[in-house]
Each structure stands twice: as structure tokens, then as C-alpha cells.
Subunit: 118 residues, 2 copies
Amino acid sequence: MYTIGETAGLLGISAHTLRYYEKEEIIVPLRDTGGDRRYTESHIKWLQFVIKLKETQMPIASIKKYASLVTEGEQTALDRLNLLAEHQRSVRAQIQMLQDADGMLTFKIASYRTLTEA
Amino acid sequence: MYTIGETAGLLGISAHTLRYYEKEEIIVPLRDTGGDRRYTESHIKWLQFVIKLKETQMPIASIKKYASLVTEGEQTALDRLNLLAEHQRSVRAQIQMLQDADGMLTFKIASYRTLTEA
DNA sequence: ACTTGACTTAGAGTTAACTCTAATCAATAT
DNA sequence: ATATTGATTAGAGTTAACTCTAAGTCAAGT
């Protein structure tokens, strides 16, 4: 069980952001007797997954959608599968685009090398 | 020579965005006798490059920086090389991160498949 | 002559995703 | 006993990158 500060530290995000994710219904932490948020190992795992989705450009709105499917339970498994499969296509498209850009940069950089070494 | 509308169509961005890039000093189009913007082939090529940088998450501020180096001329070639080399490192880091995410998604999706097919 | 559509400008509005502020409270450290 | 630390809330502010609005000019088509 972690406090909001510990959780933020562990994940490398701010406590502010954790409260924002809660407001967006992406995560629902427990509360201790004093009313403070408490995060379990399974909350942490879920947040790490959310952060991975974020890093790969999934918008908060889609993450929210996925989170709501998880909350709805077992019978949404197929919907979740489809959502992730769709996102995987987007991730692969991003990789392709970045590889093209990498090639272009290699070429540009080589031109500048020729220029500056001449 | 293209009008702003033609250029926008060619590049798949809006005329508004082209004016915005001009305000940010990323591009300086010519003007016809009526004062309307005119874009040459070389403007188009430059804009295509700018769009590639954008797609690969280079912030407008950095693109602006690069554009100003280009304007300054030959003697900034080494600075430009360094800027692009730095960006290439970022592009490669993005590719790496996306490939990890792709693996994770493959795993998650496989789990859901097992679940929904059982 | 009139309408249509593209262009001009300065500047306001939008969206996503935070990020911070203010005012307050509760537990711990000196 | 007081000071610090870290938590709480609602709601305001920020940043990047557009995106649009208003008010207007101008050329071409009917």
C-alpha cells in the first residue's frame, strides 16, 4: 500500500497527475481511515500499463474507454481485445513512420558531414 | 508557384496552419503583385521536411531554431548537423519504446484471445 | 451589377493534458 | 507547543499547436 506521493515517485509522474487520472476515472484508489488515497501493487501495475499506452500516443479519452470496459467486467473482453488490436496497428504505423524519418535523417546528416568535412 | 490553398492541399495541412508557420518564422513565402502568398517547389520541399520533423515529435520551437540556422547560412552547417543528430537519437529512442509496447500488446492480446476462445 | 470564393490581417478561442493555487487538515519531528 | 511535511478539495491557470472569427479586399463568373 502506497501513498499518493510514493506512488508518484515510483511511477515518475506527479501526485497532481494521479488525481487528474482519478478525476478522469482511469484509476480508483482505496482510501485509508483518514481519507487519504492508497495504491496497491495492482493499482501500480495498472498505472504502468496506462503510462505505456500514453507513451504510445493513446489519447486519455481512449484509455478512459478501456478502463471503463475493465470496470464493466468479463463480458467486455472481446471489446478490449479489439481496442488493443486497433491500438497495436497504430503503434506499428508509428514505428514505420519513424523508421522512414530515421532514414531521411541519416541521409541529411550524411550530406552535412560531406559539407562540413570538405 | 502555388497559392496558399494549393499548397495546403498538396501538403495535407490547412492554410491557417501555413500562416501560423509563417508567424513562427518557419517559412517565408514570396508575395505576388496583389500581396498574396506564393509557394515555390523549394518551399514545398522545405515544408515537407518540416512536417516530417513535426510527425516525429520535434517541437515547433526546435523546428524554428533549425529554420533560423538555415536562414543564417553556410557557417551554421555544423550546428544544424548536431541538431539533426540529436533528433535522430530521439527518433531511435521512440522506435525502441514503441517496439517494447508492441511486444506488450501482442502479449496482452494473446491473453484476451485465450480468454475469449475458451 | 452582383455573387462567389480565395485571399488579407490581428487577435480571440479551442483542445488535450496536465499543473498549480488556495485554503485546510492531520500526523510527525524538535 | 510549534513547525514541517504531506495529504485533502474545488477550481483556476498553463502550454503547445493549432483553429477560427471578424471585417475587409479583390478578381472572376453569370
